[in-house]
């Protein structure tokens, strides 16, 4: 089966139907088409690569076990992104429950930040790495719109459907995320701009 079934933004409805019928080959095509995109989002929600992989795997397991529920009321991408967003939020909640280890790491990170001057720490890092790290530190409700907007290049309306909120809320969260990024990476901006 070729990957002609999947273009950048559109997916062949027949492929979905075959997946809904339980066709393993079609599942595989879908997996190959979306794995990078899903991992790309998951990477901003997993504590490390292994967790991001786990989230990606969970997304696909949920996708293939629930694909029969997809009725086509929204686009397949929107439906899938909603699944991804839910998995990411579930992971975040689970991580919050496993607080002690996470807390130790975050405290350590904070201590390291205190001991090493911001400029020195980030001078070594590329701007992309710094942005990625800062986006990861945003609250999940601010992080998800940023990832969907800048990584997946979705419109406010699409993000609103995925996150089940209004486009105005999406704009507001993005605005807050932008300003948070600017404040946290101010030294980087002044150097770059």
């Amino acid at each position: 089966m070729s990957s002609d079934y999947v273009t950048t933004k559109r997916i062949d409805p027949d492929l979905i139907k075959r997946c809904q019928a339980g066709d393993q080959d079609s599942f595989r095509v879908l997996f190959e088409a979306y794995k990078d995109r899903i991992y790309g989002i998951a990477a901003y929600f997993g504590a490390d690569e292994a967790t991001a992989k786990d989230i990606t795997q969970e997304v696909f397991v949920r996708l293939f076990t629930r694909i029969a529920d997809f009725r086509g009321r929204s686009t397949f991408d929107t439906w899938l992104y909603r699944l991804v967003a839910n998995c990411c939020m579930d992971e975040h909640r689970a991580r919050k429950r496993l607080l002690p280890l996470d807390l130790i790491h975050s405290r350590r990170r904070r201590m390291e930040t205190k001991t090493a001057p911001h400029e020195e720490a980030y001078m070594r890092a590329e701007i992309t790495g710094a942005v990625q790290a800062t986006v990861r530190s945003l609250k999940p409700k601010l992080r998800m719109p940023v990832v969907l907007r800048y990584l997946e290049e979705l419109s406010y309306d699409e993000i609103a459907v995925i996150l089940d909120c209004s486009p105005g809320t999406v704009a507001s969260r993005l605005n807050r995320a932008h300003r948070a990024l600017a404040r946290k990476l101010a030294y980087l901006v002044s150097r770059e701009l």
Partner: protein, 269 residues
């Protein structure tokens, strides 16, 4: 200059180029004169600039086999849990059945049925001297005097003679882990029987009616029987059934009082 309204909501569309020329110029003019909005505008622009650097993480080795395995585990897990649920439900139902059956069995076996015994006495002679009360009820077997009195909770040297009645026969029946005793007393030709059982073992009298009453100051219950006095009384750990062809309640009350005293000197059923 004092601006009537800040333009916080318009900053994002402004920097994303979504405002028309008129709107863009209005925002620009506002920013030039409003420190607060200018600061926010700069932050928004910087944020957009930074966020546009967001890159997709390089996907590590993520192959289909892992997903297939995970998918394979999923239905298996469901089957496993379904099987477990079915097994658990079946076990619960079985346990419930066993408990119900055992309760039913216990209800039917863990009681002393005196209905048929009383039936035989009723059809016998109404004469107070009738030996019918000395009949051996079903399931009762002859027992030694000491063992019977001990099981009846009246193991005292004077228990063999009460109010002129002498202990003539004694029988026992095992009900579960308990012993039920039939003591037959005789005074001349008169006979009476006293059944003694632990409170855990009820007596059953078929469909006979039972009335609460008081005999010579002793609270008791009387089982309605033809030509027969059948009185249910008890104290503490034991309860007793006195069966006699006699209607001499002074006589019977003395027997009841003896057992009540022996069982704890507390009357009442």
């Amino acid at each position: 200059m004092i601006w009537p309204k800040h333009i916080k909501e318009e900053l994002l569309p402004y920097w994303e180029g979504k405002l028309d020329d008129v709107g863009a110029k209005r925002v620009q003019k506002h920013i030039e004169g409003c420190d607060r909005c200018r600061r926010m505008s700069e932050e928004t622009a910087q944020g957009i600039f930074l966020a546009s650097h967001l890159k997709r993480a390089v996907t590590p080795r993520l192959n289909w086999t892992e997903i297939e395995q995970a998918l394979g585990r999923e239905p298996h897990a469901i089957r496993f849990w379904t099987w477990r649920r079915v097994a658990a439900a079946s076990a619960t139902v079985c346990l419930a059945l066993v408990v119900c059956l055992s309760l039913l069995m216990r209800a039917s076996h863990d009681s002393v049925e005196l209905d048929s015994y009383l039936n035989e006495i009723e059809v016998a002679s109404p004469d107070a001297a009738s030996p019918s009360v000395a009949k051996q009820p079903e399931g009762f077997v002859d027992a030694g005097q000491d063992a019977a009195l001990k099981a009846a909770g009246v193991y005292t040297p004077d228990a063999t003679v009460i109010n002129g009645y002498r202990l003539a026969e004694q029988r026992m029946k095992r009900v579960g882990k308990y012993e039920v005793v039939q003591l037959v007393y005789r005074r001349g030709e008169r006979r009476l029987a006293v059944f003694v059982a632990p409170q855990e073992i009820p007596f059953s009298f078929g469909k006979r009616e039972i009335d609460a009453t008081t005999r010579k100051g002793i609270a008791c219950k009387e089982v309605r029987c033809l030509h027969t006095s059948t009185i249910l009384f008890g104290a503490n750990r034991f309860h007793c059934v006195l069966v006699s062809k006699s209607k001499d309640f002074d006589d019977l009350a003395a027997i009841m009082a003896y057992f009540l005293a022996a069982h704890g000197r507390t009357n009442g059923v």
